[in-house]
């Protein structure tokens, strides 16, 4: 279970997170929505321990990520997988090497087992035949799928997605959404998805939370969020130009 309690983070004078409180139950998928540049990715990086908060707690099964150091933090990170916004593939490695890399570094599998596992994972995301290409040679959608394969190859318990379908055409976007959902169901993952794909993401998630001005202003089922009377949530979810959210 992921529990974020009263989390604050400033970058110099810019207050990004102003008391975030959020809970994702074990095995649940939550979508995190909110305007661009409002701190959603920053929140994900706090959850996985890449950033330290100014104050507040991030509890993973009652262990505070921000207080962990050294081996304990490494052990906690090993329970996570993250798909970064741009894929964050290692550009000096082929697609196969990218997926095989965590297996080489984190497991005791031999070369043929690594090859077999990486090929299987790439086949699952529909990338058989692209193993020897470099990230620069494949499309944005393929990069996201490779990142997903690299993330799933170590069977994480918790997976974080940072805008997994942004910039992709609707068909690829939907295929990736379905892939995420089927992986989540198959491995019973706890997942947190930062996304702007509203309402496309709603059928795929159990809960939705909205981040606005550094705080979670709404959290509920997709139906509750879609029918929310809160003017900010209503304006954002329905993409209306008129309302309390300024687009300046």
């Amino acid at each position: 279970m992921i529990e974020v309690v009263d989390l604050y983070k400033n970058f110099n004078d810019f207050k990004v997170l102003k008391g975030i409180t959020l809970k994702v139950e074990k095995g649940q998928t939550m979508a995190l929505i909110g305007g661009s540049g409002r701190g959603k990715s920053v929140l994900l990086k706090h959850i996985i321990g890449l950033l330290k908060p100014d104050s507040g707690k991030i509890l993973i099964d009652n262990q505070d990520v921000s207080k962990l150091r050294g081996k304990k933090l490494r052990q906690l990170k090993e329970r996570f997988g993250i798909v970064f916004q741009g894929g964050a593939l290692f550009d000096s490695m082929t697609i196969f090497e990218n997926v095989a890399f965590p297996l080489r570094e984190k497991t005791k599998l031999n070369a043929s087992q690594i090859r077999e596992t990486a090929f299987k994972e790439l086949a699952e995301v529909g990338l058989s035949g692209a193993e020897n290409k470099y990230p620069a040679e494949i499309s944005g959608g393929m990069k996201k799928r490779v990142a997903l394969a690299r993330c799933l190859v170590l069977n994480p318990e918790i997976i974080l997605f940072d805008e997994p379908t942004t910039g992709l055409d609707p068909l690829i976007g939907k295929a990736i959404h379905n892939m995420i959902r089927s992986c989540q169901k198959r491995h019973n993952l706890t997942a947190l998805i930062v996304t702007h794909e509203i309402p496309a993401i709603f059928p795929l998630v159990d809960r939705v939370a909205m981040l606005y001005e550094g705080k979670i202003i709404a959290s509920g089922t997709p139906e509750e969020i879609e029918t929310s009377k809160d003017p900010v949530v209503h304006q954002f979810v329905h993409g209306e130009l008129e309302g309390p959210i300024s687009i300046k």
């Binding site: 990170k77 290692f90 570094e105 984190k106």
Partner: protein, 236 residues
Amino acid sequence: MGLFLAESFFWMLFPPYLIQRIIKQINFIGVKTTLVILLTGSFTGMVLALQIYYTLVKFGAEARLGSVVALSLIKELGPVICALMVAGRAGSALAAEIGIMRITEQIDALDAMALNPYKYLIIPNLIAGIISLPLLNFIFVTVGVFGGYTVGVGLMGLSSGTYFGGIRDFVDAGDILEGLYKSLSFGILITWISCYKGYFTGYGAEGVSKATTQAVVLSSVVILIWDYFMTSILVS
């Protein structure tokens, strides 16, 4: 920056030791700089011999040409010019590569996999710098001495025995060690500064561009300043 270096040396003590990655970086920093070193070394030796020969002639001491060229190259010009060449060719590339990895979240991806980015990115470069610089310096000095030979013996008519005899009589192990210490320390300085600038790059292409420029400029300036202090310690 000091903390960054200290942390790198600290993590150097613990496995995994990424031998393949170190060899790859030796190839990148060392082997791929060899051609530049061969060219700069030979012409530095040649021009040095040309300048010094005409000065020595005024004192009737042209027989000392070999020893003056060799000592200048071994103690000073070899380590310094070699380091400046490596900073320009490999230092800038290191800063750019690590900087791009930072802005494209590849370093975050390593960290998120519970892998230590220092182990994968910084330490192999530091070790490669420590190994490569003395070897490049050896090549630089050797071709420099033969460049001086080409001018002194081939053009100016000194005898081969006079040229090499001077080197044998005046160059001792202490001079060679002085050059070795300098090139070792320059190896650390260049990779440390370049990796640091790349690792803590600013945002976007502009950030990487600035980091690359700063890596080369700072490395070059620090090499010259550090050279002065090292020389003053070693000669005393």
